[in-house]
Symmetry: C2
Subunit: 194 residues, 2 copies
DNA sequence: GTCTATAGGCAGATAGAC
DNA sequence: GTCTATCTGCCTATAGAC
């Protein structure tokens, strides 16, 4: 009972996270849904429209998921671990974070899509900033200076860990995931109070 | 007095670092050199051949640059800073690290190119491992456990910092660079002995 | 909403002249 | 080594029937 638009976005998201936004066509999408290429243009006139809808929905879904993490996690540490676990999940599902993929494609993306990508990262950083502040107040984390800056470091590390595991994933999925986990565990150790 | 092959690789590298390997064509290359598309196939029969040559040369050039860093730097800290500075340079020149770009394109790349990308990252990690071991021995760095694992963290962080600055770079180059520098300075602080 | 048909352009690649 | 000419195929996108 999901609409064609939603199913199109689901298929587009999977393809974009695996291959990149520029590396799938309306035909790829059409084949997956069992319709023809022309049918898609009814829902998304231009590919840029699809791109904008894609990243906007992704941002909403991630925001919801993080709210759920806030609700269920018992501590700032758990919230941060929940965040990191969602990246590991993506790796298991052969999906790069959509933000990471679109960030690398920045130069070739329509302007509206580019600005959505920036908003997406800004939202992640805002959430991370709150978690880090809460964790520092509670004595769970130790770091110097502004929580905003530490949030930028967290985001850089998790994105970089996922990206550098990505080429390895194609040939050795288990090692790639282990590598990601090791890197992030190491990072978390550095955040622990001494 | 540089050969056409070299000039082709120069142009291809610039385009690949800005737009991605799949986002430039033989025609783009041809236009930049003032020749025609067909002429390129004499030097590189298939695009995969160009890709392999591109990343292989890049790996050699980076290896040379790091050897030069080893030669001129006075300490492990300086060597690590030299490494990080080369990423900042790329950002200033509107170029993403070629490894980062190709890593994100992994799934769509010819197998031979994929394995070159993995070798490239392995070489960086080997170099970083040596620097970290030297620095720890000399008392410049403090970290627990294997230097190999710490090297993976360093690489993840610097790649992620560059990638997350990339979308911002298109609209606010100065802030993007500042952001990269802030993140990496923060990381270096965490490596300092207390 | 989805179809068929088609336009117009660009991709990688090849043959053969010079 | 580089050219012209050309092939084949895929891309985004549109018009108009159902």
């Amino acid at each position: 009972m999901t609409s064609t638009s939603e199913r199109l976005l689901d298929a587009a998201q999977a393809l974009a996270q695996q291959r990149g936004f520029n590396a799938f066509s309306f035909r790829d999408l059409a084949n997956r849904l069992g319709i023809t290429n022309a049918g898609i243009h009814y829902h998304f006139p231009k590919k840029a429209d699809l791109g904008r809808a894609l990243i906007a929905r992704y941002r909403r879904n991630v925001a919801e998921a993080l709210t759920e993490v806030d609700r269920t996690a018992g501590s700032a540490t758990d919230r941060l671990k929940g965040f990191i676990a969602s990246y590991a999940d993506g790796l298991r599902k052969e999906r790069l974070c959509l933000g990471v993929m679109l960030a690398s494609e920045t130069v070739t993306l329509p302007d509206e899509v580019q600005s959505e990508v920036r908003s997406f990262f800004a939202a992640l950083e805002d959430w991370l900033t709150r978690v880090l502040e809460d964790g520092r107040t509670a004595g769970e984390f130790h770091f110097e200076g502004a929580a905003e800056d530490e949030a930028a470091l967290v985001l850089s590390t998790v994105e970089g860990a996922m990206l550098s595991a990505w080429p390895l994933r194609s040939v050795k999925p288990v090692q790639a995931l282990a590598r990601f986990e090791t890197v992030m565990q190491r990072f978390l150790n550095g955040l622990a109070p001494s």
